[in-house]
């Protein structure tokens, strides 16, 4: 069931996920389309998330936006006190401006591994940190090992933060401890995207890939073909997986395996390295005292890609 509508206010709206925003001209959504989208969201009971470009919107847009309860996703450069989610592309970060905020850090794997200190510092100030590894598909045996060590090292910082009374939220490490089931990309299932052209897409990535690949528009409404394939039950690998924090990005799935319901080997391996690091983190925190007493242990497993387990059957 659809619950969320993401509205890209401009073609240059910031990316908050794996997809890249092409560097092109600005194209602001038409004001009438914005009004129509808000009206549709009210009718369909959808929560709106507005995604902003790095420039200030005209006043009349802000007035229309404020006619509905919503969340704002803004790039760091345009951050204002009302931003609910701040996206970060790069490492020149003023941590003070991010204090208490939800931050999305988009980075290549090599950059992430080279900026351990910066990530630790961020974790100490933000309310929540989501790291999006933008070149996940290049995960190799070599950087896989390095990533595993990196997760464990940052995990030690998370333990220290907990000991100091903080409750850092970090998608790569703490989400798996908190979750009881899969909680990942809802694109096409719970979530739909409106692009500045007035058409709907499964997610922003599908729009930037091909604007003709729409799933409806403001006049026709939504028309998501094969919508069941965006649901967990229709994903043979994912439905029996317990790396519940995995982003399970349907756009990446489509790019790497040509099917929205099938993750790549690299996606699975990365998610399982994170899962296993979460397992270690949970054990470490519990050695310091009672922690999440209602949550079971995370089981030890002997694989990094559930596809391989499926093939053994």
């Amino acid at each position: 069931m659809l619950q969320y509508m993401i509205i890209l206010l401009d073609d240059a709206s910031t990316s908050f996920c794996h997809y890249e925003v092409p560097s092109g001209e600005r194209r602001l959504i038409h004001l009438d389309d914005l009004r129509a989208a808000i009206r549709l969201a009210m009718i369909e009971n959808l929560t709106i998330q507005f995604v902003y470009p790095d420039y200030e919107l005209p006043q009349e847009y802000q007035e229309v936006i404020d006619t509905i309860d919503h969340s704002d996703i803004k790039p760091l450069l345009a951050v204002t006190p009302d931003a609910d989610v701040v996206t970060i592309n790069g490492w020149e970060i003023d941590n003070k401006s991010l204090s208490g905020r939800v931050a999305v850090l988009r980075t290549a794997m090599s950059e992430l591994l080279a900026h351990t200190r910066a990530v630790k510092d961020l974790l100490a100030v933000v309310q929540r940190l989501n790291v999006v590894i933008t070149d996940l598909t290049t995960l190799t045996d070599t950087n896989r090992e390095a990533y595993m060590h990196w997760l464990n090292e940052v995990g030690q910082t998370v333990v220290e933060l907990y000991i100091n009374g903080q409750s850092p939220q970090f998608n790569l490490l703490t989400d798996r401890m908190m979750l009881a089931a899969m909680n990942n990309c809802g694109a096409g299932d719970t979530c739909i995207t409106l692009a500045p052209n007035g058409r709907f897409y499964v997610c922003p990535g599908f729009y930037y890939d091909d604007p003709e690949n729409d799933v409806g528009d403001l006049r026709r409404g939504f028309d998501i073909k094969n919508r069941q394939l965006y649901k967990l039950n229709y994903a043979p690998i994912c439905r029996q997986c317990d790396a519940w924090q995995c982003r399970r990005c349907v756009w990446l799935n489509r790019h790497t395996t040509l099917e929205v319901n099938t993750p790549s080997h690299e996606q699975c391996v990365a998610a399982h390295l994170e899962r296993n690091a979460s397992r270690q983190l949970l054990t470490s925190i519990r050695q310091k005292g009672t922690f999440l007493p209602d949550k079971p242990e995370i089981n030890e497993i002997d694989y990094l890609d559930p596809f391989e387990k499926l093939q053994e059957r």
Partner: protein, 406 residues
């Protein structure tokens, strides 16, 4: 949609890797039901491409752990490229031996041909050289009328059927491959000729007729009833004529028309993804049906090439595909689901989105008609055998049947 008795073409079924060389996209014929919409005379495989494919495959033995291999050659019409095929097969044999490959002496060369060039010296020399490792099927659709309805020569001018050009080679073929079976394809216009065509093929000495209705959405209102009537007539003819003792027709199988268990019988029907198909450009496909020349609506699904190898991520959807995940509820709940087949390539081509996870159901009514006729056949046959006291003897000597993928 068919179950057939064990045949040469199903050699090592289930444990053999099937590797297909699309040696040419050309064919002498322009069959009206042919799913190959992009046939042409230009795309012929070069020796360099074929060699590169072989070197890649044999050089990555660990990636191909199957105990045996079927080297399949298709077109268009594969025997148009007999010189290339002969060179490929010679190279395969010497390389498998030189490398000590586990497929050496556990391989087969397989052909499905229109039969037109079967008698030519080049083809005959190839057959004689490789006969102990060879499967050849000739496609003949039945009577002259039925065959020439669809299987016509390409080119301008008045339509010219190919029956006479094929049937003259049947005796030679059966002499060399006594158990050879033929493949018959049924489209809407062929329905009135099914019974007489199968009987005609039996009369030519072909003991095994593998017959399929096409998966494409070509069916007209009332086709299922007409199909059923033809199968009733065929059932009567086979039983009354005693053909059931020595001949087989894949339309009739004891194992079709039953509900399927959602857990124990959840496997995919189609072997796409477990196979490998290579075209003239050296591009790899999960099955020939995913090459551009096979697709009406969709882009090809490419899983690699002879230079870069196989992108295993592209195989994951194929290898994790199961029956329930791709089937609509009507198929999951169907009381006569067993034996109802699908082609992953046609599913993909007909799907609403570019996915292999949407099962096409164009053959639904045809399958149900087949099940009704099938029930009639077995009930009548078994009663006859019981009344004649031959049931036990029949059961102990009956031919083994197994599902045919496509």
């Amino acid at each position: 949609m068919d179950d057939i008795k064990t045949t040469e073409s199903s050699w090592q079924s289930g444990i053999a890797k099937n590797i297909t060389f699309i040696v040419t996209k050309d064919c002498q014929l322009a069959c009206k039901y042919c799913y190959l919409v992009g046939k042409n005379e230009k795309e012929r495989m070069s020796w360099e491409t074929a060699k590169a494919a072989i070197d890649y495959i044999l050089g990555h033995e660990a990636d191909f752990p199957e105990a045996s291999v079927v080297w399949d050659f298709i077109g268009g019409e594969p025997f148009l490229e007999i010189e290339l095929i002969d060179r490929i097969c010679d190279y395969l044999k010497t390389e498998m031996f030189r490398l000590g490959h586990h497929w050496f002496n556990s391989y087969r060369f397989s052909f499905s041909t229109n039969g037109i060039n079967y008698h030519t010296p080049a083809v005959q020399a190839f057959i004689k050289k490789n006969i102990s490792h060879l499967s050849v099927g000739i496609t003949i659709d039945g009577t002259r009328q039925k065959h020439d309805l669809n299987r016509i020569w390409k080119g301008g001018g008045p339509e010219r059927g190919s029956y006479d050009d094929v049937v003259r080679n049947i005796p030679l073929w059966l002499e060399q491959f006594p158990g050879g079976g033929t493949k018959v394809t049924i489209s809407s216009a062929d329905i009135p000729y099914i019974c007489e065509s199968v009987l005609h093929l039996y009369s030519l000495g072909i003991h095994e007729v593998n017959i399929n209705v096409v998966f494409e959405d070509v069916w007209q209102e009332g086709d299922d009833r007409r199909f059923e009537e033809q199968l009733f007539a065929l059932a009567d003819a086979i039983i009354d004529g005693g053909y059931y003792q020595d001949y087989a027709c894949s339309f009739f199988s004891e194992h079709i028309g039953k509900p399927l268990d959602p857990e124990k019988e959840n496997q995919n029907w189609c072997g796409a993804g477990k196979m490998l198909s290579i075209d003239a450009a050296g591009t790899f496909y999960p099955c020939t049906r995913f090459a551009a020349y096979s697709l009406r609506e969709k882009k090809p699904i490419i899983i690699g090439n002879v230079r870069d190898g196989i992108d295993r991520n592209k195989l994951r959807p194929f290898l994790t595909l199961d029956r329930l995940t791709q089937s609509p509820q009507q198929c999951i709940d169907c009381d006569v689901a067993s034996g109802c087949a699908w082609c992953q390539g046609e599913n993909y081509d007909a799907a609403d989105t570019p996915t292999i996870y949407q099962r096409a159901t164009a053959i639904c009514l045809m399958h149900k008609a087949r099940v009704r006729a099938n029930n009639y056949y077995w009930n009548r046959l078994f009663r006859k055998l019981e009344l004649e006291g031959e049931r036990e003897d029949y059961e102990s000597n009956k031919r083994t049947v197994e599902p045919q993928n496509c």
